[in-house]
């Protein structure tokens, strides 16, 4: 197969970026997208150019490192997959394919297709953890967890932190990510202490990082490689409302979890 690639090149954060066009020929349909990129990089280097920088590691869809927007879709065509799980057979022969970094106001470009996703960490750091240290560890079977709660918690905990939801959202919102974290902890008995402070702290941080608001486009759910349901955003909104109404505290006030 043959393709025309339009790839975003940017030497560093402060440099100007632009699309470069590359022709690739003789691609096997069963080659993965990243294998195709590897081959292109090998060629660029041999020709005296610079390889296209991109994040990747496990190449089996679990580490969350790879982060390309392909033809306008984070992680490319197909549902429920990461960039490394995209195959060339999913494209039409002789297609022009546009490759960009995950785009969002809160994700500055570091180089080429690599972006800085640490804003997600700062949301997490604002309170996305179980907060209680005191006391002996309870015997877990003393507090049975219903299969429904356990399943909903796992379906949220499956988030790999790739940021596709942010890149897919027209507003650049991080609601699916944050909702997944809130739902994971909020469905478990261990997550109950500090539950309503947690949601307010995380939402405050989300707002201050420059993520947009949610207006129910639903693009995040469609782009999520782990197919996390948009229901987690409902959970987040509900907990946030209860928190603000029944457990109010001054933003960044005295309730920072320890």
């Amino acid at each position: 197969m043959n393709f025309t690639l339009r790839v975003w090149r940017q030497a560093e954060h402060d440099a100007a970026g632009r699309f470069e066009t590359y022709e690739v020929a003789g691609v096997e349909p069963d080659e993965s997208f990243l294998e195709m990129m590897d081959a292109l990089n090998d060629r660029l280097v041999v020709e005296g150019g610079t390889a296209i920088a991109f994040d990747n590691d496990c190449r089996e869809g679990i580490c969350g490192a790879c982060s390309m927007t392909i033809d306008g879709r984070p992680h490319g065509p197909g549902g429920g997959t990461t960039t490394c799980q995209v195959y060339m057979r999913q494209f039409d022969d002789r297609a022009t394919i546009t490759v960009e970094p995950f785009g969002a106001a809160a994700f500055p470009v570091i180089r080429d297709l690599i972006v800085d996703r640490s804003a997600l960490d700062r949301i997490q750091q604002a309170g996305g953890y179980t907060g209680v240290n005191a006391g002996p560890k309870p015997e877990p079977n003393a507090n049975p967890i219903s299969p429904e709660d356990a399943e909903e918690a796992i379906d949220a905990a499956i988030c790999i932190g790739c940021g596709a939801c942010v890149a897919a959202c027209p507003n650049g919102a991080a609601m699916l990510f944050t909702g997944a974290k809130i739902t994971h902890l909020g469905r478990l008995p261990q997550g109950q202490p500090g539950r309503f402070a947690r949601v307010q702290d995380m939402v405050d941080q989300m707002d201050s990082e420059g993520f947009g608001g949610c207006t129910n486009f639903g693009e995040c759910e469609a782009a999520c490689p782990k197919e996390i349901s948009i229901r987690v955003i409902g959970r987040l909104n509900r907990d946030y409302l209860i928190g603000v109404l029944n457990h109010p505290r001054n933003p960044r006030g005295g309730m920072k979890p320890q």
Binding site: A11, E12, H13, D42, V45, T50, A51, A53, N56, D57, C58, R59, E60, G61, I62, C63, G64, A65, G80, T81, Q85, Y87, I110, R111, I114, R117, S118, D121, Q124, Q125, G128, Y129, T130, G131, K137, P138, E139, P140, N141, P144, I145, S146, P147, A150, A153, I154, A157, I158, C159, I160, G161, H184, L185, L188, Q190, G191, P257, Q258
Partner: protein, 562 residues
């Protein structure tokens, strides 16, 4: 200049657990990781974590299974510690928010795993590593007041003072290429294995033996390096892992004739014998012509109820679909043994201390040795957590007794000159990627399931040649922002050092035990070889070989059958 009581290098499960333990004990801690912590390779651990938590189970039973699985090369004092402390570790994880599988009654559920006499593997679907890693990372963040994270920083050298003590590290910020000295009272290496020295491997691209080589270069001993685990079920196309959980849930191995061949090799445990046993059986079937033309046998997951597969094995449903084009709930998938894990590593005691004062190691980079000749499935997550925690606690206590060291600026200048020299290498010759490729295929050809003197000698010759070639191999990218070329050149050096120790140890052990099967010495020989092989650096020459005894507490070696 950053200075900390404890510097942890690597932020997978072992590194994060060590950092949390040290911080909880009051130490100031820095964690250095060449990737974002949640991309660490622990994230790919699928199947689960072993602990004798059920009332009808016992830690002694878990320990015996581990000793037998190790082919009696594991140190039994360390194995006892690991298995005794396992239940508490599961409770700790549960407490901080890991969503372990719950049965219909809401209680913790277990699955069966290879080489175990009881179903004692606790799990989160088939994303156990990811689930634990993410929750530990949340806890790291909770301790951010005393725990500094340096993410996407690459360690180039460990630092020693004039007394030979390890006093920190030099690391490169990948974002801007700047080098920085990190002073520390103790350093805990938790940087994982060396799977990328083999091709194919189940390991991610970042798993390049960094810590093993760094420790080796400052005088730490490596142990059990010949013991390389080939996992029985990796995908023919690309070496991806199909979790042992699949067989734990009831999947069968079949040869091309449709025969359940494990009945001949392990009549009692069948598909759930130890990994070394199953991988050898598969390779024998393939070598003797009973495999498929693509050099594989089949894993039949259709034996597992479809609903159960979709619930408990969801990642491999996706992997089968995306990478092999197979719906594993409806048809068998072709698999073969593939390089998966290093039992060997930096030799430590049960507190993670190496023979270099101030240097600790935990997790796959280390060799305590709890896995000996062969690791049981779901014991590696346990190893990372137990010995990560013990290292962190010990290093924190040590920090209270000593003053902060400070490193001469000259060390930084030396490191900068080394990097500059790599960047300045003249063009010509083969590229780094080509040398790495030859290393990987060589190791996979000669240091795999079956080995012999002739093949190992050939491998050694090739590795020595590649070392010479790598020392001058040019790189293409001369920039400072996210220069992945410079890192690849340094990583190649690490992999070559580690590969030579693997080959030398495999040549030395003239018997078959655990993962080491010598076709020229096919029997286990307890009289001569019930001992560890230690490897130490010897300048630029072939590494030095030494021996150390295996610690036996209560289980004398027996014949090993499954």
């Amino acid at each position: 200049m950053p200075s900390h009581d404890v510097l942890v290098i690597g932020a997978g499960l072992a590194g994060q657990r060590a950092a949390l333990a040290a911080a909880s004990a009051g130490a100031s801690v820095a964690v250095i990781s060449k990737v974002h912590p949640i991309r660490s390779h622990s994230v790919a651990a699928a199947g689960g974590i072993n602990a004798a938590l059920n009332p009808e189970d016992s830690w002694e039973s878990h320990a015996f299974d581990t000793v037998k699985g190790s082919d009696y090369l594991g140190d039994q004092d360390a194995i006892e510690i690991m298995c005794r402390e396992a239940p508490d570790e599961i409770l700790y994880l549960e407490h901080i928010g890991v969503t372990f599988h719950r049965s219909d009654t809401g209680h913790l559920g277990t699955r069966a795993f290879g080489g175990a006499s009881q179903a004692r593997t606790y799990y989160v679907a088939d994303i156990t590593g990811q689930a634990i890693l993410h929750v530990l990372y949340e806890q790291l963040m909770k301790h951010h007041g005393q725990l500094d994270r340096y993410e996407e920083w690459f360690t180039t050298d460990l630092l020693r003072d004039d007394h030979g003590h390890c006093v920190g590290a030099i690391c490169r910020n990948l974002r801007d290429g700047r080098l920085q000295v990190f002073d520390a009272k103790s350093v805990i290496l938790a940087s994982g294995g060396a799977g990328q020295a083999f091709k194919p491997t189940t390991n991610g691209l970042i798993v390049t033996g960094d810590g093993m080589a760094q420790a080796f270069r400052i005088g730490a001993k490596l142990m059990d390096m010949e013991m390389v685990q080939y996992h029985p079920t990796t995908l023919a196309e690309n070496g991806f892992l199909i979790t042992e959980g699949a067989r734990g849930e009831g999947a069968w191995l079949l040869n091309a004739d449709g025969e359940r061949f494990m009945e001949r090799y392990a009549p009692n445990k069948l598909d759930l014998a130890s990994r070394d046993v199953v991988s050898r059986a598969e390779q024998t079937e393939i070598n003797e012509g009973r495999g498929f033309p693509d050099g594989t046998v089949a894993l039949d997951i259709t034996k597992v109820p479809r609903k159960r597969t979709l619930e408990a094995l969801r990642e491999i449903v996706n992997i089968g679909r995306d990478f092999a084009g197979v719906d594993i709930t409806r048809e068998p998938i072709h698999i073969r043994p593939g390089m998966h894990y290093m039992m060997g590593g930096v030799k430590t005691d049960s507190y993670g201390e190496t023979n270099v004062p101030g240097l600790y190691a935990a997790g796959e980079v280390a060799c305590v040795s709890v896995h000996g000749g062969n690791r049981l499935g779901a014991n590696s997550l346990l190893d990372t957590l137990i010995f990560g925690r013990r290292s962190g606690e010990h290093a924190a206590a040590r920090a209270k007794e000593m003053a902060m060291p400070s490193t001469a600026a000259a060390k930084l200048t030396d490191a900068e000159a080394q990097i500059a020299a790599i960047i300045a290498r003249p063009a010509g010759g083969r590229r780094i990627a080509a040398i790495k490729e030859e290393l990987g295929t060589t190791m996979n050809r000669y240091c795999a399931v079956f080995r012999d003197a002739e093949g190992l000698a050939k491998a050694h010759e090739i590795v020595r040649g590649l070392k010479e070639e790598a020392a001058t191999a040019a790189i293409d990218d001369r920039g400072s922002v996210f220069n992945q070329d410079v890192i690849a050149a340094i990583e190649l050096g690490y992999m070559l050092d580690v590969s030579e120790t693997i080959v030398v140890a495999a040549q030395e052990r003239k018997e078959s035990r655990g993962a080491q099967f010598r076709t020229d010495f096919p029997e286990r020989n307890d009289d001569q070889w019930l001992k560890h092989i230690d490897i130490a650096m010897n300048g630029g020459d072939v590494p030095k070989v030494d021996y150390s005894p295996v610690t036996i507490t209560r289980w004398q070696p027996q014949e090993r059958t499954y």
